[in-house]
């Protein structure tokens, strides 16, 4: 018996894995970014299945709206796409073995271990009267106030760092100098003269 939850999980999960694979194998980096956006959408679906509605929408806003678009801008700025060549794919065998080892260990732990997993449905816990967003809001500004502020400061530092890193003064570009314009006085540029009749003004 396949329930709606199962169907949604397999749909989101398989699309998520497929799009992540596409991120790494796409020939053009722009396609990688689009596949990354698809992956973010599907993981938002997974979050919804887990009952974390607030996080799902934060994920959409932050990842799709900010991070992926940032990636897209950088891809378009740099514009260099080096397609993955077949002979490079197996150059780094040690990395493959490490990743495969982690994977196999996890599967062994899951399959053979004492780690029993409840197979009951996950959607819809009965006892909560308040919504997920309400619950997060109640603890985020009270119990987790300090870490929340620290993350804010971290984001501020990251923003300042990104601006400082990428700022440059280009030479040879004509630009408006507002400070100089505002500090101009009439006495700097204007000279009043009495003009004698019949003689005119001598210019310097």
């Amino acid at each position: 018996m396949i329930t709606m939850l199962d169907l949604c999980f397999y749909m989101f999960g398989l699309t998520l894995i497929g799009s992540v694979v596409t991120v790494f194998l796409a020939r053009n980096t722009v396609y990688s970014v689009f596949a990354l956006i698809v992956a973010f959408f599907n993981s938002a679906g997974i979050f919804l299945l887990l009952g974390a509605e607030f996080l799902a929408f934060v994920l959409l806003i932050v990842y799709v709206g900010a991070v992926a678009i940032l990636f897209l801008f950088v891809v378009m700025m740099i514009g260099a796409d080096e397609p993955l060549k077949k002979k490079d794919l197996f150059k780094n065998v040690r990395g493959f073995i490490l990743a495969a080892g982690v994977m196999v260990t996890e599967i062994i732990v899951f399959v053979t271990g004492k780690f029993t997993l409840p197979s009951a449905t996950i959607m819809g816990d009965g006892d909560s009267q308040i919504s997920n967003t309400h619950a997060i809001g109640e603890v985020l500004y009270t119990k987790y106030f300090l870490p929340f502020q620290l993350v804010g400061i971290l984001l501020l530092i990251a923003m300042i760092g990104a601006i400082v890193l990428t700022l440059r003064n280009r030479t040879g570009v004509k630009r408006q100098k507002a400070k100089d314009q505002l500090q101009r006085k009439p006495s700097d540029t204007l000279e009043l003269k009495d003009v004698p009749i019949g003689q005119g003004v001598k210019t310097k």
Partner: protein, 103 residues
């Protein structure tokens, strides 16, 4: 197909983590894709955190996941800024070219 339990979500998160790890390793040519692999790693970790939050019926995991999302945004901003500065100097974003400190 069995009925979906928490184990399915854990396996999904682990598979994503391994895919991200592989992605970091196989992309020796394009730093951008490696940064995307880092994003996938952080995403898989936050999926695992939310899964465990559900398992323990406690909001800890979701809050930590929220902080992970914020940190990932900061990491992406700084990483891409460094990448742009690197590209300005070297006119290349290959990982193989990142070895100036070697002398």
């Amino acid at each position: 197909m069995m009925a979906v339990g928490l184990g399915h979500f854990l396996i999904l998160g682990s598979v994503l983590f391994c895919l991200g790890l592989v992605g970091v390793f196989i992309n020796r040519r394009n730093v951008l894709v490696s940064l995307m692999a880092l994003e996938v790693l952080l995403l898989s970790v936050s999926i695992l955190f939310v899964t465990f939050a559900k398992y323990h019926d406690h909001l800890h995991g979701q809050i930590v996941s929220l902080f992970i999302i914020g940190t990932a945004a900061a990491e992406a901003a700084v990483g891409l800024a460094i990448l742009i500065v690197f590209f300005r100097f070297k006119k290349s974003i290959k990982l193989e070219d990142v070895q100036d400190l070697k002398g």
